[in-house]
Structures are given as structure tokens and as C-alpha cells.
Amino acid sequence: MRTPDVAIVGVGATPYYFRGQSYPQTLIELAGKAILTACEDAGIDVTEIDGFAYYSEAGGGYGQKLDTATFMETLGIPEVTFSATLTSGGGGSAGSIGLARAALVAGDATYVVTVMALQQLKQRLGAVFGAMPLDPQNSFLMPSGLIGPGHLMSILARRHMHLYGTRREAFAEIAISTRENALNRPKAQKRTPLTLEDYFASPLIAEPLCKLDFCLETDGAVAVITTTMDRARDLRQPPVKVVAAAHGGRREWGRAFANFSMLDPDFASSGNAPIAAQLYRKAGVGPEDIDVALLYDHFTPMVLMQLEDYGFCKRGEGGPFVESGAIRYKGGSIPLNTHGGQLSEAYVIGMTHVLEGVEQIRETAINQVPGAELALVTGGPATLPVSGLILGRA
């Protein structure tokens, strides 16, 4: 029997707020608003949702929880037949759609929602590792003062610069081109142009990374509804096909910058090469077939390393590749993060990339890539699983 196709049929998001400014809304309220908006977009009633497919261990940001029973209670969802999450953190964002697909293909659910909500009233993400309870494993990391994700990834970035001659100008180009894509977006948190001078004037936080290499700190929520293609065809929007989804990774990447055990060449990578191989094999396509790349951009160097892992350029050549203008929406060979990404639009732990992928395939994106047929969406380079998703037309 042929495996049924699966499609994304609804997407919804709250406004994007600067850290802490979504108060007095609650986390569940933000998530609920995104879910209801996604249902409206799909043309289904929220009571039809019977599956929840989370990632990041169903965390709401870091430190808070998203809970299926609470959603059922507050939104009046009568019965759930699937409730599961990918492990670890933001690495699973794109892969959560694959988890939804697993439920649908198995016949365990009919409408599955994936939701992420983030509200930073107490704990800033930027110092999240420093706030973790001490344990025997992080005792090998925390004494060094590496308390934030940006601290950790700066060490990967420096190794990449050392091995391949990558320049800060390349990281700057990712920040600048992503900002350019946010300028015309009403919901974007950053809408002023960025210059190379601005970049080099930005305060160094964890050298070689400056503040403009870091993503935003956002409050907000995004929800995505997935169903089988036979149901999708009767709904409000043109279905966006889940062409391929993959999550996981290899031991050589493992816990990544949670323990820095990686050796070369994995150390200065995004750990996503095995995901790229899975996705391209499943989809029967290659990087040359991707029309728009929506790569998880928590930190600019990790975008560069994903461009290498996903085969848009060779390993080590990410610097010259981006400096050539290749990732520009206007005139680039692979338009990158056309929504302004997490660097300039909003940071909802990868879900805005899924949202943009859907809009690109529907051809309703604000920065539409003309005739886009395949969109690549990735999860964050971090402790495994990392993940990716290829979306396409039905």
C-alpha cells in the first residue's frame, strides 16, 4: 500500500512582541491564539484537532511547558488520539512536521497541530544555560562561563574561521541580507536597514560574534496544522505538501556544543549533513532544486555552516559563497530567509521558518520567490535531533 501524502493546511501566528512585552497574556493564551488562527486559515473547527506533535520536549520556549490536556481544557478539544514530542530543543522544529506526518500516516490522528509559544518574563533565552540546574554533565561546561547559546556557538564560528579563512564579513552579510528581507514586513521586529559599518560597530558579545550575529528575543506563538492529502484537498487553502521530513543526526555531532566533543570536520559544521542526505534522498531532489532556503538562524555562523551541510556550497566555502551575494532575495542563487528570519523578524524557535515555507509554496509570501516549487526548512543546529523539511506544491 502506498504511503499517503501529507500536507500543511493551516498556519497561524500571534503578533511578535519584544521579550516580556506579551504580558499580561499567558503562554497558553498565546499558543491558543495561534492554534485558533491556524484553524481559521485551514477552514476547520478547533474541535476537529485530535493530534499534537511538538518538539523541544513540548517546552514553551525554555523553562515553560506546553501541555495537551491544558489545550483541550481551554480550547474545548473533545478527544485526542496522538500527543507526542521530539526530544531535545529547537533542533527539532522542522522535524516536528515529520512527527505529525508519522501520526497521520499511521492513521492515529486526522488533524495534527504543531505549536510553539515563547514568553520570556522570567528567564531570558540568552542566558538559559547558566540558569540550568547543575548536573554532573554540565559541570564540565558551566564553570567556563559559557552561559548562553551565543557563547557556545562563537567557539564553533572561530574554528570555522581558522580552518577555512572565513571572515566576519561573511557573518555580516547574513545579518545584512536577512535584515533587508524584514524591511517591508509589518510584523518584523527589526525594520531599519543594516550596513557593514553598523555591523562592525555592534558590540562584541562573545568574540568573534557581535550582537548583530545573535537572533532576537521574542514573545509570540506559531501553530501549524497538518493532515492527509485527501482531507487537505477539501479545505480552504491550497495544500502544501510535506515532500520530505527528517530528524536525527550522527554521533559525531551528538550533544554538539553541550560538550564540544566533536572533531573536525564536524566541529565547525551545523550537524545537518545527515539530515540533508536523508531529505534529498527521500525527496529525490538535490540542493539545486531548492527554490528558497529557510535555515534556522539563531546565530549567523550557523547559517553559513548549514549552507555547507545542505550542499549549497562545498564545506569550507560558505564564507566566499555568502559574500558573493548568493543568498540575497534579490539576485541571489538561493534566496535565504525571505521572511527576515530569527535575526530580524522574530524568534519563535524555528516555527516562523515553517510559516514562511508554507507562504512561499502558496505564493502568498511578502517576499515571494517567483514560481517557488520547493522550500527547504531547517531546525536549529544544536544537540540532536536536528531536523529538516522540504515543502512543495500538492
Binding site: 554532573p136 559541570s139 562561563g145
Partner: protein
Amino acid sequence: MTAQATTLPTDTIRITTDAWTEPYWEGAKDERLVAPRCAACGTFRFPPSAFCPECRSQDTEWVSLSGRASVFSFSVVRGHPGHPDLLLVPAVFEFADAPGVHIVSNIIDAAPEDVTIGMPVEVVFVDIADGWKLPVFRPA
């Protein structure tokens, strides 16, 4: 003199252990840098864990290393919550006498602009909370 890198305030540095990690910290307490090596197949692993990932043996020997290392990569962090003037050079170190081992710690007694990847360093031990000692590294 240009500003020299240091550690977090040492009285605020805490660690905790389990049965597999404690020998590392007990070694440090004696000012010995030690790393676990599989007694069956001879493969080093780090951080310490319950099995050799190459052969699944649990027989482990704790090898005293020379303490000489080289800088694999590093960051420069200026300021820390509550300590705006703190200058840290957190780094990943590799060891000629423990292939495959990466240890994360700090470079001290060096100006950040003088730190390079590949630079030779040597271990020193600083007192931290609860009677433990932390291995850190200075230019050799």
C-alpha cells in the same frame, strides 16, 4: 599591561558529580589532570560516561595526563551577569596524550589578543566552591 583573562569568581563556581565523573574531580583535587580510557580497547572518552562507546566495556582506567594541551578553539567574553568587568577566554582544549579528548575550560593569565588556535597551554588548578578544584589553562 593589557587586561588578562581570568575565571568566573572562583567561590561561585560549583560542580556536581556522579559515579562516573567523580574520578575526574577527585584527580583535580590532587592537582592531577586525569581522563578515562577504556581498559578493554584503550579508547579515551570525554566527558566520562558509563560505557566505552567503541566496545561497550565498562572497565575504565583513569590516566594521568601531562597537563600540556593546545587550544582547539575559544571565545572571548567580556562581562558576565553581575560582573560587568570580567574578562573570560572560555576554550576547548585538545591533548596529545589523550587523542579525541576535548575539555572545556578557561585560559587565564593571557591577553585575549595573544590567544590563538593551536597555542600550547598547561594546566593549573584553582580552588572552587565546596573544596573542589577546577583545571584551567595558561600559556605554556
